[in-house]
Amino acid sequence: MNFTLKVWRQSGPDVKGSFETYQATGISEDMSFLEVLDVVNEDLIEQGIEPVAFDHDCREGICGSCGMMINGQAHGPGTRTATCQLHMRTFKDGDSITVEPWRAAAFTLVKDLTVNRSALDRIVESGGFISVSTGAAPEANLIPVPKVVADAAMDAAECIGCGACVAACPNGAAQLFTAAKMQHLNLLPQGQSERYQRAERMVETMEEFFGSCTNHGECQFACPKGISIDVIAYMNRDYMSAKVKNRKLSGQS
């Protein structure tokens, strides 16, 4: 298969960027999109051109590194796939494919397709954890958790923090990420003691860096893990509870 790639090139955050057109020839339909970029980069290196910088790590859809906008969709046209799981059989031979980095104020561009996603870490730091005494691991069955609750928490915990929800959102909102990171803890018994502090802190940290939700629902289709916008509704509910609950009884300062 042969493709024409229009790739965003920008050598640094303060430099003007533009699309460059590259040919990818002799591509197998079983290659992932990242492997096509590898092929293009090898060609560029042989021609003495700086290769395209892009984030990638595990290449099996669990690290969340390989975020890029492909033909106007986060992680490209596949459903529930990260870019590394997007196979070239999804495209037609001879297709022209446009590749662009995530765009958001909080995702400052580092180089070409690589963006700085540290704002997502700031949200997790503010409350996406459970305070425990360290030491030996507790007995796993000490706190019984019903199967449905464990499943619901796991659905939210699937989030790999790739930032596709922010990239796909017309408002550049990180609601799906924040809600997933919050709800996988808020749904479990271990997360209850800090539940409302967590809701308040994570939402307010999110709002420092990102836009707000207008319920387009675009994020849940962009999400490589298929996390539903249901978690956003649960987050909105918890945030309101955090503001109206008796702060003494809910353990807040």
Partner: protein, 250 residues
Amino acid sequence: MAQASPRSTVEAAVKPISRRPASSAPWPLNLYASAVGKKWVMAITGVIGMGFITMHMLGNLKIYLGAEELNHYAEGLRTFGAPFVPREGILWMLRSILVVALVLHVHAAFSLWSANRRARPVAYASQRDYIAANWASRTMKWTGPIILLFILMHLMDLTFGTWNKDFISGNVYHNVVALFTQLPKVIVYLIANIALGIHLWHGAWSLFQSMGVNNPYLNALRRVFATAFALAIVAGNVSFPIAVYLGIVS
């Protein structure tokens, strides 16, 4: 909690787009300071608006029962609550709730819109391919101002009567007929009501998400409700100018 301070050059490269208020205001002002809280306010004020618009449409259906019925209903709104409250007492109470709701809805919408613009200062250079974001959800920022302007025009036409050449205060039936015999007015009212329907179709669904009303048993009904509500309101409202213009009501 204080603003998280950057601890590395990687973190420092990302600048906040909004600043947290230095001290937290008393409830419910602290709620309104956050975007999630503003969405709650938009949902609640939206429900108030939906309640108004339902009663407004249902009340106006009296036009099909004749001049006496409609004018009697209009007078009933003014004398509502008598003799416990002065004339127009309840009416002005309800009106003030509506004005406050409208101001909050518009202010929250505008401030969220401007924050969302700051959240993506550099737009995508390539064409976006939306999957879920529909025409209604992405035009809320246009249908909203259209409805706002329409409300002002509607008040000038039928409440104050300044833009209605043949206005007789208190004779609602006559005023409506006088207004909708003019084709330009009919067209403007039709367009405005279609914009209202589009706005409601997204809003009446979206408010459930904003207020965290989410239940796997009921989620499918949220869209059904929004569609039925928007259709019912638009069908009722659009029927009045058409009925008058076609001479069914005269």
